[in-house]
Amino acid sequence: MVHAGIAGYGVYVPYMRIKIPEIAKVWGKDGDKSARGLGVYEKSLGAIDEDSATFAVEAARRAFEHCKLDPQRVEAAYVGSESKPYAVKPTASIVAEALGSTPHLTAADFEFACKAGTAAIQACMGQCIAGMIDLGLAIGADAAQGRPNDALEMTAGAGAAAFIITSKKEEQIATIEKTYSYTTDTPDFWRRSHAEFPMHAGRFTAEPAYFKHVGECAREIMKRTGTKPSDFDYFVPHQPNGKFPVRVAKLLGFTEAQVKPALVTPFIGNTYSGAAMIGLSAVLDVAKPGQRILVTSYGSGAGSDGFIITVNDLIDQKRPPKERHFFELINNKTYVDYATYAKHRRKIKSM
């Protein structure tokens, strides 16, 4: 059976950061306490001339730069986001044009809250395995909207990760052995068509939503493959803050050492559709050939996409250069205050 795999990946995080206490103080909250409680210390934000489409293009260009494959070979391009610049008009076609992949390809945008990007990976995988395409591009990109004075304002970050999916074993830096998804209709977090900011159901977003779906997905994919937590070197769950992923890892029987390399949210906030994929990128930056990774993304609404990934020898040749490793690239940053943040995120009325 043909297995689809990852041929290359790229991450883009915008330049600006705002510290959580800087947001908290505007609303009269204890900044340090908020940051500690969330496990998030600062979050990234795009400039006024950035959006999830520009993030997607940057991440995709980097992915191709790193693995040196020809973007013209892309036959399917999918972008998952919950902050698309257009409600109607695909980001995927913008990315395809910017890469020079047009016109012989299919493209579409995906939405499933934070798991839109991993759903795109599954779509590429299916087409590769079916022999419909040889090379696909799946991107998770978000410039998430943070409602003023809401807890999520403190964690809603910005960024993107692009994954090039290939059917050819000889191009795979990592092979995706299995994918499985757990999906129910659970309205824990949503945004109506005309609303500017999402709504969420408070504490309901934890147990019946995040923990249930990530937990069930991980358990079931391990059951179906006869694996257990100790069979994996890394666990990459979705990470809406710095606490949930650590807690779910513990509940499932993973160690802190298995999940820590994937934790990106404490440094850039929750990048929504980008989160699990950026987490996976951070792991691939350091993973060695032969190591195994379990990924479980989560998207509100709700669902969890699981992937079991084995790292191949080729990774040593096609890894991004050191300055593009997640924990290096986030050092290119500058801090802004709440007023500058509000300006760039267009939170000032009548902007």
Binding site: Y41, E42, E97, C114, T205, P240, F244, R247
Partner: protein, 161 residues
């Protein structure tokens, strides 16, 4: 300024990936694309060619009195960049403080929105450039180790699932 849709569409190749032209008669590159080679005119054999995405700053300014449609970005750095094929191009510089911009700085192409967005019209995307950081010039270190300690389960605050 709002541009008509067909104009935005026609400009995509040059704005998304700096598509210019090359004359194989005089062996020069040109940007923007020209049907007529200024050196060879009728004798020129012109074809499309992508310009390289990296270059060096040739001159720069900081614009503090913006034209309409650029008010929210102001002030912004503007530079003439000499690309690696010696073609010059005018573009904004992004993601760095003014003090870091110098004649001779190396820059690389970025993909950004251009001009203001009125939230109804089509968006103009195009090239801007960012300084190429050398790995020695990393700024503030990552936050403290506190972020890595697991929380007490019961204290989790309401958060995005």
């Amino acid at each position: 300024m709002k541009h008509p849709l067909p104009l935005i569409w026609r400009m995509i190749p040059e704005k998304y990936y700096i598509m210019g032209s090359h004359c194989s008669t005089c062996k020069n590159d040109f940007f923007p694309f020209r049907q007529i080679c200024p050196n060879c005119r009728r004798l020129g054999k012109v074809s499309e060619k992508r310009m390289p995405p990296t270059g060096t700053i040739y001159s720069f300014t900081e614009v503090s009195a913006p034209p309409s449609g650029f008010e929210f970005e102001s002030p912004y750095p503007l530079a003439i960049i000499e690309l690696d094929n010696k073609v010059k191009i005018l573009a904004q510089i992004v993601d760095c403080p003014m003090e870091k911009i110098k004649i001779g700085s190396r820059v690389t192409m970025r993909f950004r929105r251009v001009g203001d967005d009125d939230e109804e019209s089509a968006i103009s995307y195009g090239y801007k450039f960012a300084l190429i950081e050398d790995s020695a010039s990393a700024s503030a270190p990552a936050p403290s180790a506190k972020a890595d300690k697991p929380a007490k389960a019961s204290k989790a605050t309401a958060a995005k699932g």
